[in-house]
Amino acid sequence: MNYFPDEVLEHVFDFITSHKDRNSVSLVCKSWYKIERCSRQRVFIGNCYSISPERLIARFPGLKSLTLKGKPHFADFNLVPHDWGGFVYPWIKALAKSRIGLEELRLKRMVVSDESLELLSKSFVNFKSLVLVSCEGFTTDGLAAIAANCRFLRELDLQENEVDDHRGHWLSCFPESCTSLISLNFACLRGEVNLGALERLVSRSPNLKSLRLNRAVPLDTLQKLLMRAPQLVDLGIGSYVHDPFSEVYNKLKIAIQRCKSIRSLSGFLEVAPHCMSAIYPICGNLTFLNLSYAPGLHGNKLMKLIQHCRKLQRLWILDCIGDKGLGVVALTCKELQELRVFPSDPFGAGNAAVTEEGLVLVSAGCPKLNSLLYFCQQMTNAALITVAKNCPNFIRFRLCILDPIKPDPVTNQPLDEGFGAIVQSCKGLKRLSLSGLLTDQVFLYIGMYAEQLEMLSIAFAADSDKGMLYVLNGCKKLRKLEIRDCPFGDAALLEDVGKYETMRSLWMSSCEVTLGGCKSVAEKMPSLNVEIIDECEQMEFNLVDKQKVDKMYLYRTLVGHRKDAPEYVLIL
């Protein structure tokens, strides 16, 4: 291929879009590496501490779109202290100083300050798209800066962030000249928004395809917005409470009927169940329905709604749908690929309404099911075996039994055989989360059969180090392993430290690993950062090797120890 001019190769590489493939291309030879790096526009960095912004900029001068992930996944569940790290500011600062023409920034689990947002908004003329998922540290003032300064903004997508809402005027900061919006999602904001400004913004955004409102947007505003944006493809409803006999509600019905392109519906952050019939006309075209923030919608009203959604591919719902409701899903949604059932009452005493029965029904009725997140009261081996038989195509299988060590309630056995059936049957399984009573046996199965497994989450499981060893030895494609409250110790940790260089990260909390064991890993593998998170600062007083470590997070990196770790993080 060396006799092709560079432009030809570059053109060929244009067709190669997946990160994995482009990474592979860059490894072929020096000239391919050079051509690839100069033409690369999109870069994905799964762990912001694995590389530095300077090196990123040096390698990819043509960078336009950057995706960064910060905190480890278990940070979502309060297992990582707030100021552990994951600050985006240094990245934005470095990019701003360079000649990179950044157009798109997607962040997950990072700390984003208003200062960062302001710098971002002022540094990149062509900035088009900001997506923040599960981030924190900013207020609506930062959003105001983005709105005011990004003249060609197309996308502002805020998903499940903790935002300090100053109830300001951020929406009013979009200038009259801003007409380029394609996607606006502010559902996670808790404060009031200027409704007039919102209406005007939507009116002057003819390309708007995705609009997700927050709770403060009432029904009558919704109706006006829909009248102005019948071209919407994705709609997130804020407040859906009104008198079904009112004029406004009638107008809403008409407005909704005009929106023939809506394929994705979410929100209902506040809902009056007796008003749902207005939605029926668009249900038949929906491919994605997210009702996981609408606990007010349940029982017959919910089932009736679902019965209209025959083309659904993805459904996110609360467990108040019940096994019976899942039966309705199984009968109606034959195209279903992804199902997520969230708990409506996580600490409630047995009020959660789904069990293994609901899952079995869905698996039988929806043969295309390939992605599952299921919070339930209980699970049986028999059910899992049936599900494995019905749905061999699972790519993601995440099961969470609310009581984390509950055995099969029928046989009182651990759930080893059930999960074993899943990994054996689902040859393409990439992500697995376990729960329930589990012994080392399930890990033997995982090591044996889960050949494509990339991410594994384990909690309150196993009997000994053997469990972890089965996984480390068997799962060749493992990238992320996160473990909490399991009896895995130094023997398992130290068996094959080279393995961790082939993975993005390993998290172990409340296990049996000791400080000495962690030190050993750090010594043997300089390409890893081994972090000990010690909130009670015990380590300061008692640096004894055989002390158990409460939280350890290790990850491969090309840039050594990070400099921004707080006091209670010890990097070995």
């Binding site: 979502d76 569940f77 009056a272 047995g350 609310l402 009997d463 158990k548």
Partner: protein
């Protein structure tokens, strides 16, 4: 590691950390042997697996020692949202009967759906197809043969609109649209 949850070389973290199980039990299989599950604690309390009694539903989350940090694994954002909604007791509408003098049957409305008097009165006007007239503190509802009234907690019939909205919806037991002379008497002050 055998032995009690000691303080000698063991991290004090373990003694203070929220875990399943009774204090004093050994930490090897941290949550596995001799531990009562969250579910079992709840079951024992009400004697039935998956207990459905209203008491259990209404009470606050189980005592702290039974809750595990970071379990169930749902995002803080989502968890906070559930809390907020619970605090607002969503889904529990305040339904009251509405009667109108001369109408053949009564209606029922959910007071929670409305944000104030104007909305409520508008809704009632639509429901029964009539006009209520303008409210003034001095003269009640002028310009119409009707006056909206409600029965309060003490059993007295009151004119709608005198007290703050929040107070109204908690004290209103039923609504009645009075007509004719009775209304005029009520509407025009004592």
């Amino acid at each position: 590691m055998e032995g009690s949850v000691g303080y000698d070389n063991d991290l004090n973290l373990k003694a203070t950390e929220l875990r399943l199980g009774l204090p004093g039990t050994e930490p090897v299989s941290i949550v596995r042997r001799n531990k009562r599950s969250l579910q079992q604690v709840a079951d024992d309390d009400c004697g039935v697996n998956g207990c459905k009694s209203d008491d259990q539903n209404e009470t606050a989350p189980p005592p702290p020692k039974a809750q595990i940090v970071g379990w169930p694994p749902i995002r803080s954002y989502r968890k906070n949202n559930i809390q907020t909604k619970k605090n607002e007791s969503e889904g529990g509408g305040i339904y009251v009967k509405v009667s109108m003098d001369g109408a053949p049957y009564l209606r029922k409305i959910d007071l929670k759906v409305y944000s104030g008097y104007p909305e409520l009165l508008q809704a009632i006007e639509n429901m029964f197809k009539f006009t209520i007239g303008e409210y003034s503190e001095r003269e009640g509802y002028k310009g119409s043969d009707y006056a909206p009234t409600y029965e309060d907690k003490d059993g007295d019939w009151m004119l709608v609109g005198d007290v703050p909205w929040g107070m109204f919806i908690t004290s209103c037991k039923r609504l009645r649209i009075m007509k004719g002379s009775e209304a005029r008497g009520l509407g025009r002050g004592v």
